[in-house]
Subunit: 180 residues, 2 copies
């Protein structure tokens, strides 16, 4: 099988201007996901980044974070914790409010998902300002877990989200500058 | 490794009464997902059902359908199409309105996701009345694709959703009766 480079995978991502609001250049990964070999290669590159990392849970952020978080958890053989938008989890939750690149939201996890001291890998599709990932890290901390790392498919370098996530290593595969 | 039976996996699912509305017994799979070996076994049982089925795309329904759909697509080596709630997809979409067990909603897919005649496996976490899965099937049909099958982790037998999905084979692993 041919190896895929991050640059080749990047070309599978479609940029949609002014979505969801004017001024945002939306990086649409659905054009990558629908390409079977590209999708598999992207996940394999993500997996290679964290295969040797010490973590015993994956925390996946709704909704696109589930796509990658579930495969990483499955390959590692560890449990998956789902972060959801407010009101969707049926049992006792921990919640946090945070601001987004555009707008704000509340994230929740089940209280019983993370054991004290447990190393947790946080997974999402895209790192922008880092607000969502930081909120997820706060949830891990509130449950007395430990953030083992952050894993993303795409990173928007100019927004410098990485700077807000210095509590743990940050891994990403594909990088975009704002003018691309 | 020990084999897991569907009955053992079923015991990992928590039932929450009166969520999200009175009278609904919510089957909470987060207690299964967080258990690494149980999660892997559940996905492996789902995969075994469809490994030999002819499909070249997986259509995963937001949000919990992504958890299972992505792994099935990854293992098969085919592309993943994400069905989203209204307004979240940035490019040209096909949409359909449908009624849920509680409430109603609009589902969308990108127009360019499915090729004419392409066999598509529809994946979600749970089959209730079948309304969501049928709406997803309508999206496949509207894109001139062909529904190759439906795959679920959980089926609520008493709601008879299976009867509405007779256009293709329906696979599920764990069954609940309403009084359980």
């Amino acid at each position: 099988m041919l190896e895929w480079t991050p640059q080749e995978l990047k070309r599978r991502i479609r940029t949609v201007p002014d979505f969801p609001v004017p001024g945002i250049r939306f990086r649409d990964i659905t054009t990558l996901l629908k390409d079977g070999p590209a999708f598999r290669a992207a996940v394999d590159l993500m997996w290679a980044q964290v295969a040797d990392l010490d973590f015993s849970k994956v925390l996946a952020i709704e909704a696109r974070g589930y796509i990658f978080g579930s495969i990483i958890a499955y390959r590692k053989g560890v449990g998956l914790i789902v972060v959801r938008k407010k009101g969707k989890l049926p049992a006792e939750t921990i919640s946090t409010t945070y601001s987004l690149e555009y707008g704000s939201a509340v994230l929740e996890v089940h209280q019983d998902g993370i054991a004290p001291g447990e190393p947790v890998l946080i997974v999402d599709d895209l790192l922008a300002t880092g607000g969502t990932a930081l909120a997820a890290a706060e949830l891990v901390q509130a449950a007395w877990g430990r953030v083992a790392g952050f894993l993303f498919l795409v990173e928007l370098d100019d927004l410098q989200g990485r700077r807000r996530l210095q509590i743990a290593p940050v891994f990403s595969i594909i990088h975009f500058r704002e003018d691309e």
